[in-house]
Symmetry: C2
Subunit: 190 residues, 2 copies
DNA sequence: AATTGACTAAATTTAATTTTTGGTCACTAA
DNA sequence: TTAGTGACCAAAAATTAAATTTAGTCAATT
């Protein structure tokens, strides 16, 4: 059996999407990085979008797997949330794709990048909503609109990890965690 | 004494900036709305930017005055914050300019609009930071980085008032207040 | 002295042209 | 025979050129 060209292509494309975003990634470049002819890419993927989709699928699956692993631990809601935060902040590969795509949406508004961001956000929001729902059921969390609460938690996370950096020095992981706890777990008040 | 042409111009320009944003507001249009010759504008304002600055000053002053009025009430921190929220959500005139400029920054990235947004944000952030600082001093709020906490509160507010609307039905004022309380005052946990 | 609107230079938008890129397919090497 | 290739093409994007719009001026007019 010869080398797994599909894997090479996926690897090269992932690298390029993370580094340059959707639009600035050309099929020529991918073929060059992967050391295959351009035509070869099209024996595995119908279009550039399909290639992107498959990478997005993989990233989503990894995100899901992280989330499921965290959820399976069955500790408290806050603990789960912080574990999830840790996992995402530590293993940045998916996170980086997400950040790069978000930046591309902001800068040039590429439709496919927007789709990608929306998709990953949807997974995260759904997971959070579910966790909150359960925690409300078990009496751990106050009754509230779980969709809105999930949305706020995600926005807080994005505010601290990406928006803050636009006008300040980046916060380190622990500061981020501390401030998330401050609002979510006990409120800012004494 | 003849009519106050400067006031007419300021009024017309404000209307136009709120409605169309910085870039899409032309000096011709302002002069037409104000019923003055275009040259007249330049007897009061050196440039379009200066005209914009003066309107921004006015909006900032009004925001400051709302914030000071709220701060003077000397009730609890949460109460002050909610009063401020109410004031801003009810008297939307400044808020509308802010929202319009934020949209312009998002859509076409006008430099002057960005400056305007930054400036109004800076006032709000500074006020919040000060309030938090005081509340920490009086033992009402947990010791924390007041800049980061102020930033998070503002982002939450913006998330609920503008970002949520991109993918959902707008939340009404009371839902917004409720959810702000949920995170700030007592935390989401029971 | 205060106000104006036709006027101009500069900036923005639109149209035309060139370059780049996604996707194909006749061909090659294994 | 077949997996793999890269020159090739149409379509899209970037660049350049032409046309339009607009900020700001100033001689003329109240």
């Amino acid at each position: 059996m010869s080398i797994d060209r599909k894997a090479l292509i996926l690897q090269a494309a992932t690298l390029s999407f993370v580094q340059f975003g959707y639009k600035a990634t050309t099929m020529d470049q991918v073929s060059r990085i992967a050391n295959v002819g351009k035509g070869t890419i099209y024996t595995f993927f119908k279009t550039k979008e399909e290639l992107f989709e498959e990478i997005l699928d993989k990233a989503s699956q990894e995100l899901m797997s992280v989330m499921n692993r965290v959820a399976a631990e069955q500790t408290t809601f806050v603990h789960n949330l912080l574990n999830l935060l840790d996992s995402i902040l530590e293993f940045r590969s998916d996170h980086e794709l997400f950040v790069k795509l978000a930046q591309e949406v902001r800068d040039i508004g590429t439709a496919q990048a927007l789709e990608g961001v929306k998709r990953m956000e949807a997974y995260a929001l759904d997971f959070l909503r579910q966790q909150i729902e359960e925690a409300i059921g078990s009496g751990e969390v106050k009754p509230c609109d779980s969709s809105v609460a999930a949305f706020m938690i995600l926005r807080m996370y994005l505010a601290l990890t990406t928006e803050w950096n636009k006008s300040h020095e980046p916060l380190d992981k622990n500061r981020i965690k501390e401030h998330m706890i401050l609002f979510i777990s006990t409120g800012i008040l004494l």
